[in-house]
Assembly symmetry: C2
Homo-oligomer: 330 residues x 2
């Protein structure tokens, strides 16, 4: 573990997931691409919710899932995110605190807690329809610089880049981290997020403000504007001190300067729902990284955490991740 009070402090969307099963025909009628994430407004959220099947609600949000995984792996983690003052917000707060995550961003009485309507098709792909509500009202004032200085790593999600106010909060957090010597980790989140904000992300990377970057295959190619995976990784690895790229069933690769490592995907018994796979991969990798494990063992931890979360519904770990990590922690 690091000598900091917190290993990781994350800032992200505070969202409750509503998970329901759906078939491909339903997605076609809806006119959305399978596997994508799109933002919807309150009206669309209501109409889609009325049309979708019976759901189960679990706390989610990409960076929030990652800190939940970090705590499950014995790390000290905190979270900053904006909720509404309502029942879904109370559920989110309860869940993240019960997992050991430090969380005390005050809820807003003037907005509804964000929800992500997740349609899971029989192939375990998830298509996400996100109403951001209160989450997109996270203000720079909610960013506590003193707390950022207490963390070894500040972890940010690309999803928060869309709305203007939280984007300003992210920039303020990055400045606070750099001033305090806290490393900045960033996850690209989604191809469409990159399409909208690629210039911002490239500028941050070129300015040396990103220490650790997480991406999946599609995202790294889009960020690098490269049609070849290896070329994309090479191009970005030259500019980011530590790069981690996940490739679904093909495992993951990491690059740190001249050092390279890769792991295959962890074998699973049954693929149920890929929600949270990337989030938990990041949790596992960072849990290894803050312990000073090398690239390969950190990747292995990521693969183990991701394998656990895709074998059940919901994006938070259910099994004892420390036990699953086993010898890697010895």
């Amino acid at each position: 573990m690091s000598s900091h009070r917190l290993d990781v402090l994350a800032i992200g969307n505070a969202i409750v997931d509503v998970i329901a099963e759906a078939d491909d025909a339903f997605l076609e009628r809806l006119g959305v691409e399978k596997g994508s994430m799109r933002l919807i407004d309150a009206g669309e959220a209501e109409s889609l919710y009325a049309r979708m099947g019976s759901g189960r609600e679990t706390s989610g949000g990409s960076a929030a899932n990652t800190v939940a995984g970090l705590c499950a792996l014995g790390c000290k983690a905190g979270f900053i995110g904006q909720l509404g003052d309502d029942q879904l917000g109370a559920i989110f707060t309860h869940d993240i605190r019960s997992l050991g995550v430090e969380f005390d961003t005050p809820p807003r009485p003037d907005a509804a807690t964000a929800r992500c309507l997740i349609l899971v098709t029989p192939d375990a792909q998830r298509t996400m329809n996100t109403f951001l509500g209160a989450a997109q009202m996270l203000e720079p004032a909610a960013i506590d610089s003193a707390r950022i200085a207490e963390a070894a790593i500040l972890y940010l999600e690309g999803y928060l880049w869309d709305p203007e106010t939280p984007r300003a909060a992210m920039y303020a957090a990055i400045d606070a981290a750099r001033a305090a010597g806290t490393k900045v980790a960033f996850t690209l989140s989604d191809s469409f997020v990159i399409a909208r904000h690629r210039a911002d992300f490239i500028a941050l990377i070129d300015a040396g403000k990103i220490d650790i970057l997480f991406a999946n295959e599609a995202e790294i190619m889009m960020l690098a504007s490269e049609a070849q995976f290896d070329a994309a990784v090479d191009a970005v690895a030259a500019k980011v001190p530590l790069l981690v790229v996940t490739r679904s069933e093909q495992g993951a690769v990491a690059r740190a300067g001249a050092e390279r490592a890769s792991v295959p995907a962890e074998p699973i018994e049954r693929l149920v729902d890929t929600t949270g796979a990337g989030d938990l991969f990041a949790a596992g990798f960072l849990a290894g990284h803050v312990r000073g494990l090398g690239l390969e063992r950190s990747l292995e931890l990521g693969a183990i955490a991701a394998a656990e979360v895709i074998q059940h519904y919901g994006a938070r770990p259910e099994q004892d991740l420390k036990a699953l990590a086993g010898a890697l922690f010895d």
Copy 2:
């Protein structure tokens, strides 16, 4: 199917389940008996929720689970239950309607939707702590006699017997059913409910007002005041036209006058959470019964529906029950 517009109209608690894992030590510290159901007030609900682990919310309620199962098995079912005008209430309404259940009891603006805090131990037993909130405010005025007359079977849960107002609503519903020739089915729900209301239940049975009775092993012995299972079944079967008793992994028995049938429990791969087992058994049995299947095939359907629901978290079916029922429906 019956010639009625509805096969089954159920009245019960409209509850959202909050399911979290817990160990035996947690139950001991809480001072509650494993496998029991107890009522808690708003303050206790808040304090227990704060102490319990990360949860997942799914719609529940015993009779509501049963009608959800009936619709999944192709029956026409309706539900009457009291919600608050809040997010948990909106979730309950969405879920039950999305399963095809007719439900339009107006929510109350002056009360909070009921929730059941369910602690699942590693042996898959569930211990339920129920805050009834709005559910216990179901008034006789919410009972629509015309709709009861449209149903072949009125299905009532014993849980609603505790608070006085819904108990009055149940009595009104029974009178309406008897006047219309609608059969009255009743599930005893819980040993402690019987301890508190045994005289009421015996009086209803003695007056010939219960046509179909559902119980588990502990409940039937408690109702009959018999320490021997067979003697308890004999005693109650003599007074109720149709009696169905579930015995967990020992299967179930049914009695209708001189006719007797029994089935073993359906084999399962993995026991995850027994929440809803009795509710879905009742759904399967009634789905067979309204189709005119005999006692044994109706019991088989009950066993199949119960086996599905105990292999995942949550008390509503997730797999295609009609497909699981297979040849039984041909």
